[in-house]
């Protein structure tokens, strides 16, 4: 009706403003009671909805809501709960047995979820596809030997070697999603854009670059209780535009730059959620290159840089300081890791001992985002004070990540790096092994001892032992003085005050099923 009114005005050539005012009034004003539909901002569009070839958290979050795994993450923890599996247990280091809930069905009439589907879904990761190409996330199931179906609803997951990380890295996450074998065979390539699942939500609609819609799955039979009838995801490129949209009540939930925390806390009907991250941001030299092959130079670097100033400057003093690889809420967190205070005297002395009393020139390579550039600027200023002249080399994503192949990292001097973390320490340590030199170990730091610890940690099942292993590994990194840890990141979210988001500790894992009324 009100639209009709507006239309009349427009047709009558009536002033846009008048008409505008009318719709302005029509726009949803912040509701105190939670509606049954919410709009959340995602920072880019969905890309690939095939669990094995997904392109990142934005895809996974949808998959986790639409498809079931044997287990699922518990909201707000690195811990898991049962989902498709009625029971599941680690029989031995290399065997996991599971029993599915009866009566789970796939949407769009693809029938019941059976152990066959589980076998198919998991073994996809270890068999090359028709084109002979391995799936992108093959490594998640690297340890899998095969899945044995023991009954319509029961089976055994058999591993080549012990893989304790499997639970949180794989089973509870994207690579553990159970897809319908029938659907896959029917849809072929189309499964990258059509999601058939048995989960709490169905993938109702996807208007690329406009929005995707999740809607409660009436036939879902499982322990998870989704709250909102509809969840709409809107891809928004420009962060600031998203902030404005939030203030204009066009979206109900978004992640924002921690720098803006104050401003957002001041907004009406808005609750701000803060979450410590598990990523790891650090910078360090390529230790194969002179003069960084000299440990004294590396130590000097570590002492010359004022990490607190970086956090205050580039991170608005809102990010927690990192002193080692693993974040506080992870197994293997090194509580007593040394906290290096800035000490120019010692730094200068170390350089002098290394015969570089009057400093040297070097280059710091960073990604072309605002924060890395800010960090670089501060590092530049800091190092200048001990006579080290730093040129900043900013690369945009394509060129930057290309350093990870064809030995691209060989040319680097200093580099500022940010890798995103997962809930199992083994995922974090794997990039620093000698084997990764030329790929993702850009600093080319080689330590036989570390390699062994990494391999060992990946197999050991006993948490206590693992913790010890990873502590040792981090001590080795510390001794090398090759890594200047900066932060594990913090994530800040704005939600309408009636909305309680369901987030995982890594910050970009969102459990849409756990979004609920505050």
């Amino acid at each position: 009706m009100s639209y009709a009114a507006t239309r009349r005005q427009v047709l009558a050539g009536g002033s846009a403003l008048l008409a505008a005012a009318t719709t302005g009034l029509l726009r949803p004003t912040p509701a105190s009671a939670a509606p049954d539909k919410i709009v959340v901002r995602v920072d880019r569009d969905l890309a690939n909805l095939d669990p094995a070839n997904r392109t990142g958290p934005i895809d996974v979050n949808v998959l986790n809501a639409v498809q079931q795994g044997l287990i699922a993450f518990k909201p707000g923890s690195t811990d898991w709960q049962l989902d498709a599996a009625e029971e599941i247990k680690q029989v031995s280091d290399t065997e996991i047995s599971f029993k599915l809930r009866p009566g789970l069905t796939f949407t769009d009439g693809y029938g019941d979820l059976t152990a066959e589907d589980v076998k198919f879904s998991f073994e996809r990761f270890i068999k090359p596809d028709s084109a002979g190409k391995m799936v992108d996330y093959a490594s998640d199931w690297g340890a899998l030997d095969h899945v044995e179906v023991t009954g319509p609803l029961t089976g055994r997951i058999l591993l080549k070697s012990a893989a304790p990380a499997l639970w949180v890295i794989t089973l509870a996450d994207g690579s553990g999603r159970i897809i319908s074998k029938k659907a896959f065979e029917k849809l072929g390539d189309k499964i990258a854009s059509t999601v058939i699942g048995s989960g709490p939500y169905i993938f109702k609609e996807w208007k690329p670059r406009e929005q995707f819609v999740l809607e409660i799955n009436p036939d879902y039979k499982g322990p998870i209780k989704p709250f909102f009838k509809q969840i709409v995801g809107r891809p928004i490129q420009e962060q600031k535009t998203s902030d404005i949209a939030f203030q204009a009540n066009e979206i109900d939930f978004e992640r924002f730059e921690p720098e803006n925390k104050k401003a957002f806390s001041a907004l009406p009907d808005t609750s701000v959620v803060e979450l410590q991250g598990i990523d790891y941001v650090w910078f360090g030299p390529n230790i194969e290159k002179k003069p960084f092959d000299d440990i004294r130079v590396r130590q000097a670097l570590r002492l010359a840089v004022d990490v607190d100033a970086i956090l205050a400057g580039a991170y608005a003093g809102l990010y927690p300081r990192a002193n080692a690889l693993l974040a506080p809420n992870l197994l293997g967190y090194w509580k007593e890791a040394p906290v290096y205070k800035r000490d120019l005297e010692t730094a200068k002395k170390l350089l002098a001992d290394a015969g570089l009393a009057d400093g040297f020139k070097t280059t710091l390579t960073v990604l072309s985002d605002a924060k890395p550039q800010a960090v670089a600027a501060i590092v530049q200023a800091n190092l200048a004070e001990v006579g080290i002249q730093v040129d900043i080399n900013t690369l945009d994503p394509g060129a930057y990540w290309a350093l990870g192949e064809k030995d691209g990292s060989k040319v680097l001097d200093l580099s500022l790096i940010e890798y995103s973390g997962k809930f199992d320490p083994s995922f974090q340590t794997q990039w620093f092994t000698s084997a990764q030199v030329g790929q993702w170990n850009w600093q080319r730091w080689k330590s036989k001892e570390f390699d062994d610890l990494d391999a060992q940690g990946a197999k050991t099942t006993d948490p206590k032992e693992r913790e010890a292993i990873y502590l040792k590994a981090q001590q080795l990194m510390d001794e090398s003085a090759a890594f200047v840890w900066i932060t594990h990141n913090v994530n800040t979210y704005a939600a309408k005050s009636w909305l309680k988001p369901g987030l995982l500790p890594n910050g970009n894992g969102w459990l849409y099923t756990a979004f609920s009324a505050a």
Partner: protein, 279 residues
Amino acid sequence: MARWLLARVMNTHAGAFGLVTVVVLLIVAIAAPLVALHDPNAIAPIDRLQPPSLAHIFGTDHLGRDLYSRVVYGTRVAIGVSIVVMSISLSVGVLLGIGAAYAPRALDQLVLSIFDIINAFPSIILALALVAVLGAGLGNLILLVSVVFIPQFGRVARAQTLSIRNSLFFEAEKVLGTQPWRILLHHVLPNIIGPIFVLASMNIPVVITIEAGLSFLGVGVRPPLASWGNLLHDGYTYLDQSPWPAITSGLALMLATLGFTLLGEALRDAIDPKLRRER
């Protein structure tokens, strides 16, 4: 000549305003180190996003850098880029244009279709496409924006040269056995200079906008180097905490484009009213 031109430009308000603005901007750009009150890259995390004060007359940005100084150095980038770009595309364009006019038909056609190809892209889009490949950065920015403007100069130069080549006295000169380069020097160039000069001055504000625009999108000048585009984007990002970065850089940008536009038009009307309609 110069005095006459100056007089013609100054005798309209718009022209005078344009000239003064541009002169001021030029001075600021050249004398940036003297005009700026602080090191534009000096970071002071503690007093980030300060409002204007005696210490920081435009306030500070999100890293506590002195905005005024950054705007000043931004002027240097904006004007530097636009002048370099213009001189590159001007010289390349004119050379190609004259060359084409003298060259055999086939070659001439080739050059022309190259111009057509470049012109088939909306300038920003071409710049983006090139950035996609070359990557951002000051050097690339200058390079690719220059490419965008070559055809304009090329066409004017070619047209002028042809009109002279077909003119009677050119024949006469040939008969008299004057070397081509003499003819070029004494008859072609003098005729080209006017329009070319106008064209260049009219395009400078366009280049300034493109530079700022690409930098705004984060594919132009690389931070920490100060560009109005970067400042504006950062300002936009931290608008909730302080409007000053956005306001100051935005105003600087608009003042510059305004000044150069007015001056350009004044020059055009003074030198070559015929060009009034062309673009």
